[in-house]
Structures are given as structure tokens and as C-alpha cells.
């Protein structure tokens, strides 16, 4: 996968001081301009500007705005923990938290084992493996807006809906899909799994191909069958990737927005109201001007929770992980 390390010749002794040794540039302050110091700064400028203005500064700004009342008319005023308290006492807050956890949980149940099984099977394909990869990855390249709106058509609750028609062939349905409180969230997760599984499959496939074949040979010599080899060799060998994709998936699903926004707009009756949707509503839901303080407070709470969660996850799985 990654580039092969080039064999390195030991550096030649510099000829009359013409060649500067890489990777260490000359560091005398007087030679700053001649010694690439100025050049390095000039080359870094685009990065420093873009990250400074559109990444580092807004990150710091979040932490400040969460403790302020901000609008575009007056100067921001200090609010202490009022924004956090307002979020905490919002009756929609526990609903959003519960729904987000439900979404993440369902996404893990659907979206975690299926790509793994598919990737293990695909790694054994001997002819035209590329075709399998392309088919699996195809949903990933479809713009999510198109995917969601297309599936919204599929989820049509009438008996003439696409899914209901197909299910009718095998004698099931019609199901209400997005229109029922009970079915709405699983419908969102089903779409989400379809849209994202391909990328996970490709990541697993890359890891599976990296497993040392000698380990399988050794297991075969010990008389292990196919399933035992998967269980005792494959899974332990790719556990690093498995652990990382799991935490990344949880972090991703905790911020789910597009699906609940476009499929159901949080409905029916708040059944798909997620934390991210609540943040959006605080900040942009009101045409008169948003409550940016509450929105940033809630985003900070979510980010803080995810940081703690990741830390605990990392601690718990550290002994079990590769590295």
C-alpha cells in the first residue's frame, strides 16, 4: 500500500559546503534568509493562513462562544454557564441524546459485522476482485443528498413504494418506514449502512491482504479449519484496524445530521431528533437569528463526551490492541 522505503545511501561528505545536509537545515540566525528559513516560512504561509483562520481560530472561538451570548447586533456578553444550563434543561436534550445513542448503537449492529464478513469473503476472491471492490464502493461515491432523497423515494409508505413493492413479492408489508416513530430510526440506519459500508470494506480488505500468509500456513499445519483460522488468525491480526474503525464509526455516527435532516427533519414526533440536529436548530433553525451560545455549548458538550469516550475506549482496548 504505502510507498516502499528507498534504500538510502549514506550522505556524501559535503563538497566545499555547497550541499546542505538533509533533513537538517542550517540554523544560524544570520543565515535565516539564505538558509531556507525564509523560504520555509513562505511555503508554510498558505497552510498557516487557512488553518489559522478556518480551523485553529474557530476551535478556540467555540470554547469562548459557549460562555457568551452572541448575536450579530450587539457585542457578545459574558454568560457563564447559562448556555450549558439552558441546554441541560431543554426538554428536547434528553430526547436528542437518546436518539443519537440509538442511532449509533443500531449503526454498530448493522454496519460493523456486515463489512467485515464481506471483506473476509472478498479477500478470498481469486478472479476479478476489483469488480467486487468497485461494486461495494459504488454507494460511497454517490452524493449523500442524492442517496438520501433517492432512498426517501424508496421508503414511500404506500403499497406502491419501491421497498413495499419488492417486499410484497415475498408476501411482506406494506411497512410505514419513515412515517412511524418505531421504524423511522432503523430506516435511517439502513440507508446509512448502505452509504458507508463500502469504505469500511475497502479499509478491511487492505488490512486483510497485509496479514502474513505464514500464519495461516502454521495454523493449517496445526490442523485448523477455515472458521478457526478466521477466528484465531485473521481477526487478531487485523484487530488494530477493527478497533480504530469502531471508534471512528462511533464518533461519526454521534454527529449524524444529513439523514435525520433530509429524511424526516427529526420527526415523526422527535423520533429522529439527534444531537447534531438540535445544534443546527439552536443555531440556524430560527430565521430571526440563532442562539449561537447554546449551539456551541452543546457542540462542546458533545465533543467533550466523545473525547472522554475515546480516552476510555483507548485505555480499555490498549492491552488488546496491536501497537
Amino acid at each position: 500500500m504505502t510507498t516502499v522505503d528507498q534504500p538510502r545511501e549514506p550522505a556524501l561528505p559535503s563538497e566545499r559546503g555547497l550541499s546542505r545536509s538533509y533533513p537538517r537545515p542550517r540554523r544560524a540566525p544570520l543565515n535565516w534568509v539564505r538558509g531556507r528559513g525564509l523560504a520555509a516560512f513562505v511555503f508554510l504561509l498558505p497552510l498557516l493562513f487557512v488553518f489559522g483562520a478556518f480551523s485553529w481560530y474557530p476551535i478556540v472561538r467555540t470554547a469562548i462562544m459557549a460562555f457568551q451570548h452572541t448575536n450579530f447586533v450587539q457585542a457578545p456578553t459574558w454568560a457563564g454557564f447559562q448556555n450549558f444550563a439552558a441546554v441541560w434543561h431543554d426538554p428536547q436534550f434528553p430526547i436528542a441524546v437518546r436518539n443519537t445513542i440509538y442511532f449509533a448503537f443500531l449503526a454498530l449492529i448493522f454496519g460493523y459485522p456486515i463489512p467485515l464478513i464481506a471483506a473476509v469473503l472478498m479477500s478470498q476472491v481469486r478472479k476479478r476482485r476489483g469488480l467486487y471492490s468497485v461494486l461495494a464502493y459504488l454507494p460511497v461515491v454517490i452524493p449523500p443528498v442524492v442517496g438520501v432523497l433517492l432512498w426517501k423515494t424508496f421508503y414511500d409508505a404506500s403499497s406502491q413504494g419501491v421497498f413495499n413493492t419488492i417486499l410484497h413479492w415475498v408476501g411482506l408489508g406494506p411497512y410505514p418506514w419513515l412515517q412511524s416513530q418505531q421504524w423511522a430510526m432503523p430506516s435511517l440506519v439502513l440507508y446509512s449502512t448502505w452509504a458507508n459500508a463500502g469504505a469500511t470494506i475497502i479499509i478491511y480488505l487492505a488490512a486483510l491482504i497485509g496479514v502474513n500468509p505464514e500464519l495461516y500456513e502454521a495454523a493449517s499445519v496445526d490442523g485448523a479449519g477455515l472458521l478457526r483460522k478466521v477466528w484465531h488468525v485473521t481477526l487478531p491480526q487485523i484487530r488494530g484496524v477493527l478497533l480504530v474503525t469502531m471508534i471512528l464509526q462511533i464518533i461519526g455516527t454521534a454527529q449524524v445530521f444529513l439523514e435525520p435532516y433530509l429524511f424526516t427533519d427529526g420527526g415523526p414526533v422527535h423520533a429522529t431528533l439527534t444531537v447534531m440536529l438540535l445544534i443546527y436548530d439552536y443555531a440556524f433553525g430560527n430565521s430571526l437569528g440563532g442562539d449561537y451560545g447554546m449551539a456551541t455549548a452543546l457542540s462542546l458538550m458533545l465533543a467533550g463526551f466523545l473525547a472522554v469516550f475515546s480516552l476510555v475506549y483507548w485505555r480499555l482496548t490498549r492491552s488488546w490492541s496491536t501497537a
Partner: protein, 296 residues
């Protein structure tokens, strides 16, 4: 690739000789392929069919195959009638600008961090890595407030494409990918070029960039794809419909026109990413694998 592509060794050659294993796996693979065709390709084929089917047929019997002929007019109505042509062009402008900003930031930044290595490079690298651990949601609201009223210059970037192009440039993932690639370029060539009198700029333009085509391809493809796919950010900062990209317009188009025309518009919105994927599939799949490697 000298011998026929074999598996990863999970199934040894000896086991593969056994008919039961061979046929078992072949059956599983056939089922997998069938499943992938239905799940991966099926929705797209349906969309392609529905894009040229009269609305009435799609509503009354969505799974029927052209019961009353095709309606090619859907496509032309979508392109001209609901102005998909304009939004398509806007999407291209946004994708191109985001691509340019991301390439400039990632290559110049990567060059400075990997080749020139100023003393403060580790600090910059640390700050870059830190942004990878900050969930995107933290940025949304302050970034919006910032774009509405830029600090220092006190101008608004709302409805300006710069509001979309510049934040895309702040992708730590790109910079790290490029920096790692530059790290693996042979230093001897740089030294030889310097002996020949090349300055940092010539080194960058004549030596490093031409050697980096594979990684530039990966970054470019993902830059275009990400901006083509994005919804929320352009939706927030480009409220004027005349400058909005296709993905932002689609939910409104749904309410403005018939189902057939709407599905045709969605089909048009898919064409470029799918064509790009099929042409550059190697870079796509390699990039996704690389992404997994970095995250791991």
C-alpha cells in the same frame, strides 16, 4: 502479479484442491457478487430507469420496466426547466476552487514540513494532528459566525465561493498524506539538485511535484469528491439559490417539479462522481486504504 492472483493465504493451496472447499467458496462468492450487484448497483440502475420514465408510471408501479415507454423529456426538463445546468456549473466551480486551495495548501505545507523543515515544524505538525481529533461539529457554528463577519476586515463572505473554498483547504488529512509521501522521496535527488544550483522554489516545482503525481492524484480525487458531496456547509454559507451547488438545490427541486424530472436531476447529479470513480478507481480504492492506514 507473476502468478495468478491468489487469496491472502487464508485458504491454502492444498485446501483449495479439495472440491468441497472450492465449490463452497465459489458458491459464497457468487452469492456475494449477486448481493453486491443488487445492493451496490441496484439503486443506481433504478434511478437511471426512473430518470427516463414518465412520473405516473414511477408512482403507480415503480418496479415495472417502461410499461408505457420512456420519457426522455425528463432529462431535458431537468437540465433546462429547473436550471440544473446552472447548479451543475456552480458545483463544478466549487469543486475546482476547493481542489485548487487544497492542492496549494497540502503541497506547499507538505514541502515545508517534510523537505525544508524549519525549527518550528514539529509545533505546526502537532497543531495539525490535533485538528484530526477535534470532531467537525465543533467548527460549524463559530466558522459560520466568522464567515458572516470576518474578524479584522469586517466583511461578509456569505454567498461568496471563498467561504466554501478556503475552509476545505484546512484538511489536516491532506497535509499529512502529502507530508508522509514527501518524507519517502530520496533525499539524494534534492541534494543533487541543490548542487546544481536549484533554490527551494525550483526544488518544489521541478523535482518534488513531478515526483508526487500518485499522491496528488489521490488528494485531487478526494478533494473534488468531498466538495461534490458536501451539503450542510454550502447550504449555510450560500443562501442565494443562484450560486448554490446541485446537492444543495436538490431538496428544493423536489418540491418544485414532478417526480420524474426530480429523479432525472438526481441522476445528473450522480453522473460526474460515478464516472470519475470508474475512471480513477485505482486511486480511489488506494486512497481509502491509505486513509485507513493513517487513521490506524
Amino acid at each position: 502479479m507473476s502468478k495468478p492472483a491468489s487469496g491472502t493465504g487464508l485458504i491454502s493451496e492444498l485446501e483449495w484442491q479439495k472440491p468441497s472447499t472450492r465449490w463452497g467458496m465459489r458458491t459464497l462468492h457468487a452469492l456475494l457478487l449477486a448481493g453486491l450487484v443488487v445492493i451496490g448497483l441496484g439503486p443506481l440502475l433504478w434511478l437511471a430507469k426512473a430518470a427516463i420514465t414518465p412520473t405516473i408510471d414511477t408512482i403507480s408501479n415503480p418496479m415495472a420496466f417502461f410499461p408505457h415507454g420512456a420519457a426522455w423529456s425528463n432529462l431535458s426538463q431537468a437540465w433546462n426547466g429547473v436550471h440544473v445546468s446552472r447548479y451543475f456549473w456552480n458545483t463544478i466551480v466549487i469543486a475546482f476552487g476547493s481542489w485548487a486551495v487544497q492542492i496549494v495548501v497540502a503541497t506547499t505545507g507538505g514541502f515545508a514540513l517534510s523537505v525544508l523543515r524549519p525549527r518550528y515544524a514539529p509545533i505546526v505538525k502537532g497543531l495539525l494532528l490535533a485538528t484530526l481529533f477535534i470532531p467537525a461539529i465543533v467548527l460549524l457554528v463559530p466558522l459560520y459566525v466568522e464567515v458572516v463577519r470576518l474578524p479584522i476586515v469586517h466583511k461578509s463572505l456569505i454567498d461568496s465561493y471563498w467561504a466554501v473554498w478556503l475552509p476545505y483547504g484546512a484538511s489536516a488529512f491532506n497535509v499529512i498524506l502529502v507530508t508522509r509521501f514527501f518524507d519517502n522521496l530520496p533525499r539524494e535527488i534534492f541534494e543533487a539538485a541543490e548542487i546544481d544550483g536549484a533554490g527551494p522554489f525550483q526544488l518544489f516545482w521541478r523535482i518534488v511535484l513531478p515526483m508526487s503525481k500518485p499522491i496528488l492524484a489521490v488528494v485531487s480525487i478526494f478533494a473534488v469528491l468531498v466538495s461534490w458531496k458536501d451539503f450542510l456547509w454550502p447550504y449555510l454559507v450560500l443562501p442565494n439559490p443562484n450560486v448554490q451547488p446541485l446537492s444543495v438545490r436538490l431538496p428544493s427541486i423536489e418540491s418544485q417539479t414532478s417526480l420524474g424530472v426530480f429523479l432525472a436531476a438526481m441522476f445528473i447529479a450522480c453522473l460526474v462522481p460515478i464516472a470519475g470513480f470508474l475512471i480513477f478507481q485505482r486511486s480511489f480504492l488506494r486512497g481509502t486504504g491509505l486513509g485507513g492506514a493513517i487513521k490506524g
